[in-house]
């Protein structure tokens, strides 16, 4: 029992070390790549542009629900005019970065993991190596850099849509004063809040893309079974681990940001 626990612990630490080396190696690999700009643009399209519809839908409904719930909480204290502030700060600081990251992991992260897993099984990654093409630079690095670009942009888009969603419920449906909604928002939301939201978005983007890529790239080592089931296993693992990492790192980052 103790031996098994010890082995599991050593395995987890070793995998964390491999993930770190893999991520750092991937990050710097872009600089030696030919057509790096072209690859980066394609990756931005895959991670960023393709996720716009889902971020739009989830952002809108999140804002609508937030507007509704917070209105009824605030109305207990006759503070409905604080709705703009409540919706915007909740969205910018917490819900925006977390929900956006989870949505992108669900769409682009799982796709990345599955694609790399299939490429590993089809020996395409080995083929790159025999062609003397750096596989990390070719397959992973553009996605990692694209995530650093796309996560904050999509988070900002989510925030904007959700704040408008809150406005739709609070102002248009429940009758909160239009001026009060926007004035509270302009008065209370500072540069620091926006910066903190972006710090989270960039961190989530970096961590989740690395986890998804790592699981796909090493599907042959990380899954219990070979072939399609192995890819399915590592893709699920990538999404679950990424979601946990988003929430755990959110707590840690928030603690640090509140200290400063």
């Amino acid at each position: 029992m103790i031996r098994k626990l010890g082995q599991a612990g050593i395995g987890a630490v070793a995998e964390l070390g491999q993930l770190t080396v893999f991520t750092l190696h991937s990050l710097v690999s872009l600089f030696g790549q030919r057509n790096a700009g072209e690859k980066l643009i394609r990756a931005v399209y895959e991670i960023g542009v393709r996720c716009v519809p889902i971020v739009l839908i989830v952002g809108l409904f999140t804002g609508l629900v937030l507007g509704l719930q917070l209105y009824y909480v605030l109305s207990n204290f006759s503070s409905e005019t604080l709705l703009g502030q409540a919706v915007s700060l909740t969205t910018i600081l917490e819900i925006g970065p977390v929900f956006t990251a989870i949505m992108i992991v669900g769409q682009a992260g799982s796709a990345l993991s599955a694609e790399l897993g299939i490429q590993r099984n089809a020996e395409q990654i080995d083929a790159l190596q025999t062609m003397r093409i750096q596989s990390l630079g070719f397959l992973v690095s553009p996605r990692l850099w694209a995530a650093l670009i796309c996560f904050p942009i999509l988070t900002a888009f989510f925030d904007w849509v959700a704040i408008w969603g809150g406005h739709l419920t609070g102002v248009e449906l429940l009758g909160v004063d239009h001026g009060a909604y926007w004035n509270r928002l302009y008065d209370e939301v500072t540069f620091t809040h926006v910066r903190d939201g972006f710090i989270k978005a960039i961190s989530f983007g970096f961590l989740t893309t690395a986890i998804c890529a790592f699981n796909g790239y090493f599907t042959n080592r990380l899954s219990d079974v070979p072939g399609a089931r192995g890819v399915s296993q590592t893709t699920t693992r990538a999404v679950v681990y990424s979601s946990i990492v988003i929430l755990a790192s959110d707590y840690i980052i928030t603690s640090f940001l509140l200290q400063t």
Binding site: R34, N35, I133
Partner: protein, 238 residues
């Protein structure tokens, strides 16, 4: 002095406690066709992957007999390993596009010329899934040849092919080896058919090269273990 042989010395590889390659020594003549045969799971593909650098050998060296570094080796995988989301043209262009500084027009000319040499002009815009298995094999060969390698490693190139296609793949390899002059190191299960295109045959058994010689030497004077391995295959042909 130009090199005439690839020297593989003391090549060892084990997975856990299982020794796959046990200090293998082999001299591969450059410009010729060497085929590695052996029982299933004996480590033939491991041997090839160690030469290609896909697996790191535990010990041993691979050099040329004049001391020069080993030239670029291309590798043909059993299942071709073509990028299924890329067209045939892009698959063949990939190593050039990623490794060399060439203009778009030069790239196009080189790829088009290579596709023409392998009778693939009409398949340039197609995806690998849209062409036959034999054509996929030719695309993989075109991709391997476009960087002008001196050595090409073939990992069971006829796996899963019917006898007719098997012979056409062997013909293709013989024909293009004569045309381009590369060295072939091939792993194959197709005994004795593969002997027709091989200059040398090496038999891998229990982690060692247990026999090395020409196909005629192998057929006339095989060691007893190799004879046991060959007999059922020769009988099935006759």
């Amino acid at each position: 002095m130009s090199a005439s042989k690839l020297l593989i010395q003391g090549l060892s590889k084990q997975f856990g406690d299982q020794v796959i390659l046990n200090a293998i020594d082999l001299e591969v003549p450059l410009g010729e066709h060497t085929t590695l045969i052996g029982r299933s799971g004996i480590g033939k593909s491991v041997f090839l992957k160690c030469i290609a650098g896909l697996l790191e050998a535990d010990a041993g060296t691979i050099t040329l007999d004049n001391g020069d570094p080993v030239p670029h080796c291309s590798y043909l995988f059993q299942q071709n390993a073509l990028f299924d989301s890329m067209t045939v043209f892009d698959n063949v262009a990939l190593p050039v596009r990623e490794r060399e500084r060439v203009s778009k027009s030069e790239l196009k000319d080189r790829v088009t010329a290579m596709l023409a040499k392998l009778d693939l002009e009409n398949a340039a815009a197609k995806y690998p899934a849209e062409i036959s298995g034999g054509m996929q094999k030719r695309v993989a060969l075109a991709r391997a040849l476009i960087t002008q390698p001196e050595i090409i490693l073939f990992d069971e190139p006829t796996t899963g092919l019917d006898p007719e296609r098997k012979y056409s793949v062997f013909d293709m390899i013989r024909q293009y080896r004569q045309q381009f002059g590369f060295t072939v190191i091939m792993v194959s299960h197709d005994v004795p058919e593969v002997f027709e295109i091989s200059d040398q045959v090496a038999w891998l058994d229990q982690g060692k090269i247990a026999f090395w010689g020409s196909p005629s030497e192998l057929l006339t004077n095989p060691p007893s273990d190799l004879k046991t391995f060959l007999e059922p295959k020769l009988q099935s042909i006759s």
